[in-house]
C-alpha cells in the first residue's frame, strides 16, 4: 500500500514538473516580464510606495511588457526566501526583483538563489558586512539612505530655525544604541554641532525608537531643564512621544522637535507646527529606480560586471519636509505619485557608498 502511494505521489509530482516546465518555455516567449517587489508588509504605507514606484516605472514601458507582483513577507525571513523561490520556479528567468531584505543576513541567500537562476535584481537598505553586489553578476545594485546626512540635515534645519539662528540649548533623543541607523544619524548630528559651536547639548538619552519611552524621558527632562530650545529626535515615532509630553506642559510648538522617517502622523505634525522637520524616505524613488536598474541589466542596457563600485552601491536622498516644503511634498507625493526619468540611472545617486 505504501509503495503504491509513493509511486502515485512521484507520478503526480513529475507530471506537475513537466507541466510547469512546459509552460515556462511558452512563457519566455509570450508572457510579459514579471517584476517581483519583495518587501515587509502590504499594510505599511512606506513599503507600498515601492510598489507604486515600480508600477510608475512599468507605465513608462510599452503596454504588456511587464507586470508588478508584490511579495510581502510579513516579517518572516523564510517566507521572503520561499516566495522568491516560488516566483522563480514558476516564471524561470523571466523575472526581475527588487528586494528589501527582512533581515540583512537574508540577502546572502537571496543572492545565491538569483545567481543560480540568472535573475537580475537590486536591493535596498541593509546588507551584512562584506556582502556586496560586486561579488555577483546578477545582483545589479544596492541602495540605501545616508543616515549621516539625515542626522545632519534635520539638525541644521532646527538650528537655523531658533529665535537667534545657530544659538540654543538642545536635548538629544537617541534611538537604540548600537543600531546602525542611530549611529549614523548621531554622526550627522555631531558634524552639525561642530559647525554650530553656540548650540549647547543639555542631555542625551536613548529611548529605543519607542514613543512611550521618549514621552517618559521628555517629562523628566522638562522637570530638570527650564530653558530648552529644541529636541533632536532620531526618529518620528520618538518625536511623536516628545510632542505629546511637550503638549501636556503647553510647550508644543515652542520647543522645536525634529524627526526622521516620514511617518504619516509626523508629516502632518510638520504641517501643523508640532515638528520642525522630518525626512521622508522616498519609497517611490527607491522602488522605481531599483526596478529600473534590474530591468536595464536584463535588457542589456547596462552590464553590471563592467560598472564601478560607486555606480552599483549608492545612497539616495530622502525628502526633507519642513513647513516650507510641505505643500510641495503634499502635491507631489501625497496627492499624486512622483514621476521620474527612469532612463537617467544616475539621477537617484546622491553619494556613492564607501
Amino acid at each position: 500500500m505504501k509503495k503504491i502511494m509513493l509511486i502515485a505521489v512521484v507520478a503526480i509530482l513529475s507530471c506537475g514538473f513537466a507541466f510547469a516546465s512546459g509552460e515556462n518555455e511558452k512563457s519566455s516567449t509570450k508572457e510579459p516580464l514579471t517584476i517581483g517587489v519583495s518587501m515587509r508588509s502590504t499594510s505599511s504605507e512606506y513599503h507600498m510606495q515601492y510598489v507604486a514606484g515600480a508600477q510608475a516605472f512599468v507605465d513608462t514601458l510599452p503596454e504588456g511588457t511587464a507586470v508588478v507582483q508584490m511579495l510581502p513577507c510579513e516579517s518572516s525571513d523564510d517566507k521572503q526566501i520561499n516566495d522568491i523561490k516560488a516566483l522563480i520556479a514558476s516564471k524561470g528567468d523571466n523575472v526581475i526583483l527588487f528586494v528589501d531584505p527582512n533581515n540583512a543576513p537574508n540577502i546572502t541567500a537571496i543572492a545565491e538563489i538569483c545567481e543560480d537562476a540568472g535573475v537580475y535584481w537590486s536591493s535596498v537598505w541593509n546588507t551584512p558586512e562584506g556582502i556586496t553586489p560586486l561579488n555577483y553578476e546578477y545582483w545589479v545594485a544596492h541602495q540605501s539612505c545616508d543616515g549621516v546626512k539625515q542626522g545632519y540635515d534635520i539638525a541644521v534645519n532646527m538650528f537655523e530655525n531658533f529665535e537667534t539662528p545657530g544659538v540654543g540649548k538642545i536635548l538629544v533623543m537617541e534611538g537604540m544604541l548600537a543600531n546602525t541607523a542611530n549611529v549614523n544619524r548621531m554622526i550627522g548630528l555631531r558634524q552639525a554641532l561642530e559647525e554650530y559651536p553656540q548650540i549647547e547639548v543639555l542631555d542625551d538619552q536613548a529611548a529605543d525608537w519607542s514613543t512611550k519611552k521618549a514621552l517618559a524621558v521628555t517629562e523628566t527632562w522638562l522637570s530638570k531643564f527650564d530653558e530648552i530650545d529644541g529636541i533632536w529626535c532620531a526618529c518620528d515615532d520618538m518625536a511623536l512621544g516628545v510632542v505629546q509630553a511637550l503638549r501636556a506642559k503647553g510647550l508644543d510648538k515652542k520647543v522645536l522637535v525634529t524627526g526622521v522617517d516620514g511617518v504619516a502622523d509626523a508629516i502632518e505634525g510638520v504641517d501643523n507646527g508640532d515638528l520642525i522637520c522630518t525626512i521622508a524616505n522616498n519609497g517611490w524613488l527607491q522602488g522605481g529606480y531599483g526596478v529600473a536598474y534590474a530591468y536595464a541589466a536584463k535588457t542589456g542596457k547596462i552590464k553590471p560586471t563592467e560598472m564601478s563600485a560607486g555606480e552599483r552601491m549608492f545612497y539616495t536622498n530622502g525628502y526633507l519636509i519642513t513647513k516650507d516644503t510641505y505643500s510641495d511634498y503634499k502635491a507631489n507625493f501625497i496627492d499624486s505619485t512622483p514621476i521620474y526619468d527612469y532612463n537617467d540611472l544616475s539621477f537617484p545617486v546622491a553619494k556613492p557608498m564607501e
Binding site: 544604541l177 517618559a216 523628566t220 522638562l222 531643564f225 505629546q244 501636556a248
Partner: protein, 337 residues
Amino acid sequence: MNTQNGKSQIALEFSQEMERINRKTRLINTMPLIILFVLVFIMSVVAEGFFSLYNFQTILSQLSIMLVMSMGLTFVILIGSIDLSGEGLGGFAGAVTSLLVLNGKNTNNFGIWGILFVIVAVTLIGILSGVIHVKGKMPSFMVTYSISSIMAGFAVLSYKGQPAMIKYPFFTQLSQGTFIGIPILTWISIIVFCIAYILQTRTKFGTYLFAIGDNENIVRNTGINIDLVKVKVFAWSAFCIGLAGVMGAVRIGRGVVDIGVGIVFPAITAVVVGGTSLSGGKGGVVNSLIGALIVTIINNGLILLGVSTYIQAAVQGIIIIAAVALSVEHDRKGICK
C-alpha cells in the same frame, strides 16, 4: 525536677526565638518605606530639579500606569500566581481604543463607549485565562504569557502596521488636565488604588487572597471555592491591564502595541520591591504603592542625574536587587526557584 527545668528552658528559648523572628519580620515589613524615604532624601540632595513641585507632578504622572498595573498584579502575586499577559493585553487595549474613538485612521467615533467596550473585553479575556489556569491546571505564567502573545498579534492586526493618531478631544483633556495640581491620569490610578485597597481590606475576597497564598489547604478545608477566587483575581488583573492600556493610549496619543511593551516587569518589580512575597500570602496594595514610587523615582532620578543611558539600566538593576535584598525575607529553609 531537672526535666521540668529543661522543659521551661527550651520553651523559654523557643518563645525568644519566635520573638526574634517576629521583630525581624516587623523590621523587614517597614523596609520598603525606609528605602523610599532614603531614596527621596538622596535624590533631593544630589539630583538637581528633583525636589520641586514640577518634578513631583512628573513623577506622579509617570507613576500612574505602573500603579494601575501593579494593583492588578498585587492580587495575582498575593495568591502565589503571576500574570504576564500585560504586554500583549495592554497593547491590545491601547490599540483597539485608538481605533474606536475619534482618530485619524478610520471614521469610528464611539467615544466613552469604545473605552468601556475595550475594558470589558479585556476583563473577559482575563476571566478566560483564569479559567484556563484553574480548570486546565496549567501554570499561570504559561497561560498568561500565551495570552499575551496572542493579544499582541491581534493588536498589530487591528491597525495593520500603521497606528492610529487619536483625535478624541476627551483624551487630550485627560492627558493634559490636572486637578489640584495632580494630573487626571494620576487621579484615575489613585482611584484604582483605593478600590484595590477596599477590596483587600474590606471584603472577604481580600481575606481569601492572603489565605490562598499562605496555605491553600486551610482555605479548601474551610469549604471555600478557591477556583472562583482565582478567576476573580485574574479578571481584576485584566481589568487593571485594560485600564492601563487605555491610559497608555491617552498618554502617547497613538494606538501602538508599543503601549504594552515593558509595562509588566516594572510593575512586578514594584510589587516585589514593595515587599509582597512572590510565593504569596504576604504584602498588599499599600506595599505596591510604595514599590511603584520607588521604581518611578529611580527612573526619574537617574535621568535627572544625567546618568549615561549606557549604564542607566545597570544602575537600575543594582538598586532593585539591593531593595529586594533588604525587603524580602530570606528564610534559609525556603527553596527559591
